[in-house]
């Protein structure tokens, strides 16, 4: 009996149980849940090139991502996910929004561009003669665009009680010059290709400010809500390329929550049965394996929350499968130990030899599965990717816990000499001799 070793063994046990019991709830709350677990929706946009934009460039794609980020932020969604996906040489942007809100509104804000263009006037011509004092739009004379706006557009009401959008131009001088040049003449404001106003400028504006007013009825009526949405679109700036929505997927939150709860309970029940199975078959060694499994679960959760991995239902299933692989590593080792005991070795040398001989099989077996996970990550997207990440993380952590930790604990326990009968390692009474 060596108390020092036994006490260090007990210390490890206490640390594992203490840490898990103390902080796992907090860790669990730090894990981000996928849309299938907490509800929300997933939008996939294709970045399209048009003759006017030219081919999609790397820089342009970054600009799109930035613009989309700004737009999503303006929705006020907590922790959105915006990813660039390159599928078959095409650039796609995946936006995942968790929670429940107006999907239609979100789609509009993300995908649509509020294109503001202000054109200058030209004299109206009737049968070859100019009509003095009357003007029409001169589309060849683009004065300002949405790009010239500061992103502080907001809804307000003017003195007449009309709903308007307050705008500020970045370059005050430019706007002052425009108002000076076209004083007492109209300028034409187009929104998304439609004429919004053709207001006559009645004074030089030097503070860079202006107001947009619009129709009071019809589909594009300037309701307070419309003005607010429009302000957001204007603030987000123009997208360098048009985005086309190619796929959308929405999950009701209560549906996801019910699935999550059921899966959690099933997982818990499975783990308890596996724990009992290991104790029944491998006794003390099984108990050590179970403790290593607890550490495995704890570290996996910690990694998920630390790496901000999004946990989906299939990822959850991969974790449970990872538990199976971690158990396998222990079973391989314990069966080896049993073999060694049957070959007539003492418990101590059997544990040492068994661990050593099991190592190669465990490494090779885990490496091949890890390779499969890597290929999944490389080639898959969405669900498959989440699954692959969960699988790879669980393999690495199972190598650390089910192999290194479990092995250290088993060796400490064995060397403490607290038990001598092979029964404690799941070897049957008569088994030691054959």
């Amino acid at each position: 009996m060596k108390w020092g070793r036994f006490l260090s063994f007990l210390l490890i046990v206490c640390v594992i149980i203490g840490l898990t019991a103390g902080t796992s709830f907090q860790l669990w709350r730090g894990v981000r849940l996928g849309l299938d677990l907490q509800g929300g929706f997933d939008l996939l946009y294709k970045i399209e090139s048009t003759p006017s934009t030219g081919p999609v460039t790397q820089k342009g794609v970054q600009a799109v991502l930035q613009a989309v980020q700004m737009r999503v932020d303006s929705l006020g969604v907590s922790s959105p996910i915006i990813d660039l996906e390159k599928a078959g040489g095409q650039n796609e942007v995946r936006v995942q929004l968790a929670g429940q809100f107006n999907q239609q509104n979100a789609e509009n804000v993300i995908g649509k561009t509020a294109q503001l263009r202000i054109y200058g006037p030209k004299p109206k011509v009737v049968s070859g003669k100019t009509v003095p004092g009357q003007y029409v739009v001169d589309k060849s004379n683009l004065l300002l665009t949405g790009k010239d706006l500061k992103s502080d557009a907001h809804y307000s009401q003017n003195q007449l009680g009309q709903n308007v959008i307050d705008l500020t131009f970045k370059n005050k001088k430019k706007w002052a010059q425009v108002t000076k040049k076209y004083l007492n003449k109209p300028v034409y404001t187009y929104l998304n290709g439609k004429l919004l106003t053709s207001a006559t400028i009645d004074s030089i504006i030097s503070n860079g400010q202006t107001q947009l007013s619009g129709p009071t009825s019809g589909p594009d009526a300037f309701t307070p809500q419309y003005c607010q949405t429009l302000s957001k679109e204007l603030n987000a700036g123009a997208l360098p390329y048009p985005l086309k929505l190619i796929s959308s997927n929405s999950v009701g939150p209560s549906l996801g929550f019910a699935s999550l709860k059921a899966t959690m309970w099933a997982g818990l029940a499975a783990i308890i049965i596996i724990f009992l199975f290991m104790i029944v078959f491998y006794r003390m060694a099984g108990l050590i394996a179970d403790l290593a499994l607890v550490a495995y679960g704890y570290l996996t959760l910690g990694t998920f929350s630390g790496m901000h991995v999004v946990l989906t239902l299939s990822g959850l299933a991969a974790l449970v499968l990872g538990i199976g692989m971690a158990v396998d590593a222990n079973i391989i080792t314990y069966e080896r130990i049993k073999d060694e005991v049957r070959n007539g070795r003492s418990i101590q040398s059997a544990v040492i030899a068994g661990n050593r001989r099991a190592m190669r099989a465990i490494i090779d077996a885990n490496a091949t599965t890890f390779i499969a996970g890597g290929v999944m990550y490389w080639f898959g997207h969405g669900d498959i990717r989440g699954f692959a990440i969960a699988l790879m993380i669980s393999i690495v952590i199972s190598m650390l816990t089910a192999v290194l930790l479990s092995r250290a604990m088993l060796l400490l326990f064995t060397k403490s000499n607290i038990v001598k009968r092979p029964w404690w390692y799941g070897v049957r009474k008569g088994g030691a001799k054959s």
């Binding site: 239609q104 209560s254 499975a270 199975f277 090779d364």
Partner: protein
């Protein structure tokens, strides 16, 4: 040692069994095809969770009111309480159509648990291509790794076993008309990983025993592999039992959305354990045995070989 069932000696039976299943699977593929889910076929899928048992004709009436006509098999009922209606549209629904369905659902069934999934052809095509490539490439990478760590015969035998398992799972899904979707692909890839994991542990023991026993004849080789199989048998069984416990629990009590996923896992796990023992190792024996000259003669007098 007790007299044990000689797995390698009876390999023909296992080859015949797996061959029959493979041929049956092929027939099923060719005659029935797959029931491809929305991940692979463009269209929309709407899932309604009602607070009552689903009445299919009522759902159909509701869709008629929305002027969305669906085929005779488009509405399926799911869930333990049969509260979930899954409607499959072969066309991609527009946002306003989806909104209408949601609105009607609220009105007809007073339920708000609604989810929809829409996939356009472009995404579906890239997804299915990616899935096939992932399986083939994973196999290729595994072959390379196993060839380096073991030898190429082991690698090929392991790949035959894993393709066998993936094939059986696909056959079962085709036969039972279960949907092939992205979670299914993840399941098949897991099975591929598990199958090879399981096979490698057994091969590791064969590799080790091969170094000790150094078989020179076909008979010796057969005995050595058979012994290796039985040495790893309790590990093979215990491992598959523990993983099956998890899969079965998730199948019966886990969330609705992973039901088919876990079913695929269960079929694949059983097949994976079977193929590692009864297919992969015998294939390696037959192939490796070709090297040995006096194999035939030796095989007739196995009693001379004592292990």
């Amino acid at each position: 040692m007790k007299k044990r069932f000689d797995i390698i000696r009876h390999r023909m039976w296992f080859f015949i069994l797996s061959g029959t299943i493979t041929v049956a699977g092929l027939v099923v593929f060719l005659t029935m095809g797959f029931n491809l889910g929305t991940d692979f076929v463009a269209g929309s899928r709407v899932q309604l969770t009602l607070n009552q048992t689903v009445n299919t004709s009522k759902v159909r009436q509701m869709l008629d009111a929305a002027q969305l006509s669906v085929g005779p098999n488009a509405i399926t009922v799911a869930g333990t309480k049969r509260h979930t209606a899954v409607i499959r549209f072969s066309t991609v629904l527009t946002q306003s159509q989806l909104a209408k369905v949601q609105q009607l659902e609220k009105k007809t069934f007073h339920s708000t648990k609604y989810s929809s999934e829409t996939v356009s052809p472009i995404v579906a095509q890239t997804t299915s291509k990616k899935a096939v490539w992932a399986v083939l490439l994973a196999s290729l990478f595994i072959v390379v790794y196993v060839s380096i760590r073991f030898e190429y015969r082991f690698a090929v035998a392991a790949i035959v076993a894993l393709l066998h398992d993936a094939f059986i799972v696909m056959s079962v899904f085709a036969l039972l008309r279960l949907p092939i979707d992205l979670p299914f692909v993840a399941a098949v890839l897991t099975i591929v990983g598990y199958s090879v994991n399981d096979t490698i542990v057994i091969f590791d023991r064969i590799r080790e025993n091969q170094g000790i026993a150094k078989p020179r004849t076909f008979g010796e080789l057969e005995r050595m592999v058979d012994k290796s199989l039985w040495q790893t048998m309790s590990r093979s069984i215990n491992t598959v039992i523990t993983v099956l416990i998890a899969a079965v629990m998730l199948y019966f009590f886990g969330g609705e959305s992973i039901h088919d996923f876990t079913f695929a896992l269960i079929v694949g796990l059983v097949s994976g354990a079977y193929s590692s023992i009864f297919i992969a190792s015998p294939i390696w024996v037959v192939w490796k045995g070709k090297q040995m000259k006096d194999g035939r003669k030796d095989k007739l007098t196995p009693e001379q070989q004592t292990s």
